[in-house]
C-alpha cells in the first residue's frame, strides 16, 4: 500500500491509498481522480495517463521503456519529469509519491 498524491492542473489535490501491484494510473482511475484518462487501460498504447513525477521520486519510480519514451516524445506538454503512469508499478517504496497532472491528456 502506498499513499499517492495526485495534483490536478488547477491545483486540486487527491490523496489516495493505492494497493501494491497496481499502477499509478490504476490508482487514479479506480478512485475517480479526474485528469488521467487512460483510454487504453494500461497497454502503453495511448499516452493519456501522462503525469509529472517530482524529481525526488525519479529513481524510485524506475526507468521508462523505449516504447514509453517513444510515446511520450509525441505527447503534448512533455517535460523531463514526464512519465506514463500506467508504466509505474506501485510498491511500498512509493509511499508518499506526488504526481502532477498535465492540463489535458489529448
Amino acid at each position: 500500500m502506498a499513499k499517492i498524491t495526485y495534483i490536478e492542473h488547477d491545483g486540486t489535490e487527491h490523496v489516495v491509498d493505492v494497493k501494491t501491484g497496481l499502477t499509478v494510473m490504476e490508482g487514479a482511475v479506480k478512485n475517480n481522480v479526474p485528469g488521467i484518462d487512460a483510454d487504453c487501460g494500461g497497454a502503453c498504447a495511448c499516452a493519456t495517463c501522462h503525469v509529472y513525477v517530482d524529481e525526488a521520486w525519479k529513481d524510485k519510480t524506475g526507468e521508462s521503456s523505449a516504447m514509453e519514451e517513444s510515446m511520450l516524445d509525441f505527447a503534448e506538454n512533455v517535460e523531463p519529469s514526464s512519465r506514463l503512469s500506467c508504466q509505474i508499478k506501485v510498491s511500498d517504496a512509493l509511499d508518499g509519491l506526488v504526481v502532477r497532472l498535465p492540463e489535458s491528456q489529448h
Binding site: V29, C40, G41, A47, D73, F74
Partner: protein, 409 residues
Amino acid sequence: MCDLGANIVILGAGHAGGTAAALLRQYGHTGPITLVGDEPLAPYQRPPLSKAWLKGEADADSLALKPLEFYPEHQIDFRPNTRAVKLRRSDKLVELSDGTTLSYDILILATGARAIKLPVPGADLAGVLELRTAADAEALKAAVGPGKRLAVVGGGYIGLEVAASGRALGAEVVVIEREPRLLARVACEALSDFFQGVHQAHGVVFEMGASVTGFVGENGHVTGVTLADGRTLPCDAAVIGVGATPNDELAAEAGLETARGVVVNLEARSSDPAIFAIGDVAHRPMPLYDRMFRMESVPNALEQAKQAASAVTGRPPPAGEAPWQWSDQYDLKLQIAGYPFDADEVLLRGDPASGKFAVFHLKGDQIQSVEAINSPPEFMMGKQLILNRKAVSKAKLADPSVSMKEVVA
C-alpha cells in the same frame, strides 16, 4: 435545459455505460443514476479478454473499470444481471427483465453489440465459443492449453489476438478465414501479409478462402470444423470471431431513428432529445470524414461517454478526437489512427521485415489513417495530423530517417 438533479438511467454497463456514470458524477451531476447491466460483473475492460487476461497476465480486479464499492460510494445504483425488455418513450419508462420498471428524465443507451453467430449446423455444440464477455473468456481460457487444438473462425483482430494468446498458452491453432487475406475488412494488404507471416512463424496454421459449413461433435461437445471443400479439421474448441451487430432493437422498436445502430448527433443525442446512445450501439457523425459511422472501439466509447455526460451536465462539448484503436499480438503493438476513407494513395514507411513500420493512407497530401507496427512516433504524430488536417510531404513521410516531427509540408 440542463438539470443536475435529473433522473438518469443508463442501459448497458460496459465500457461506455460505466464511463458515462462515472463522468456524470465527476461533472457534478447530483440526481439519481441507475446503471443497468445484463452481466453479473460491474463495468470492466473487454480488450484484455483476448490478450493479457487470456494469457493470465491480468486478473479480474485489474479488468474492473472501478472497484465495486465505487458505485454505492458515488450513489450510482448498479443493477447487474438485468436487461431492459421494453422502452416506453411516451411514459419515459423502461421495463426490465426482472419485471420492474424504471422511470427516467434522461436515458442513455449503451447496450453495445453482440457477436454474430454462424448460421451453420453444430454451432450450438459445447466448445463452440465466442468472445465478447468475461464469461466467454473464462470458457475459452478453460478450453485452451498445451496440446489442445483450437480452431479460430475469422481472421479479424479478435481472432488473431486469440490465436496469439492460444499459441502463448501452448495450444495448436488453426485460423479459418473466408476471405483470401486476413483483416480484409479493416486493414491494408501489406498489413494482412505481415500478420499472416508473423502468425505462421509462431506456428499458427491458416485456411484462407475457406468457408465453414458446420461443426461436428461427440456427446454434445465439438470435435471438428467442417469446411466447404469437404474436409473436417479436428479441434477441441472453436472460437467464432466474425464480427458484431449492434443491440439496437430496443431503440428501433421504440421508434428511435436507427441505421445499423442508433442514430445520434455530436452530443450523442438520439432523435428523441431525452435519449442518448453511446459506444458500439451508436451510429454517429464523424466530422473528420464527413460521414456517419458506427465504431466498435474503447476510444469511441469513451469519447461518446464524454459527449453525452457533457451535454447532460451543461459543459462545453469535448474537443474532437481522431478515432483510434490498438491490438497486441506476440511482441507486436499495432496502433491504428483514423480510417482510410477516400484515400487515393498507400505509403509505406519503414521495412516490414524489420518488424517496425507504418502504412499511411493519404488523400492528396493529407493523412486519412495510419497503421503503425511497433512505431509509436508514426502513430502519435499521424493521429495529430489526421485531426489537424495538415498537409504532409510524401517524400519526407516515406523516409524513415526523417523524424515524424518534420513531415509536415
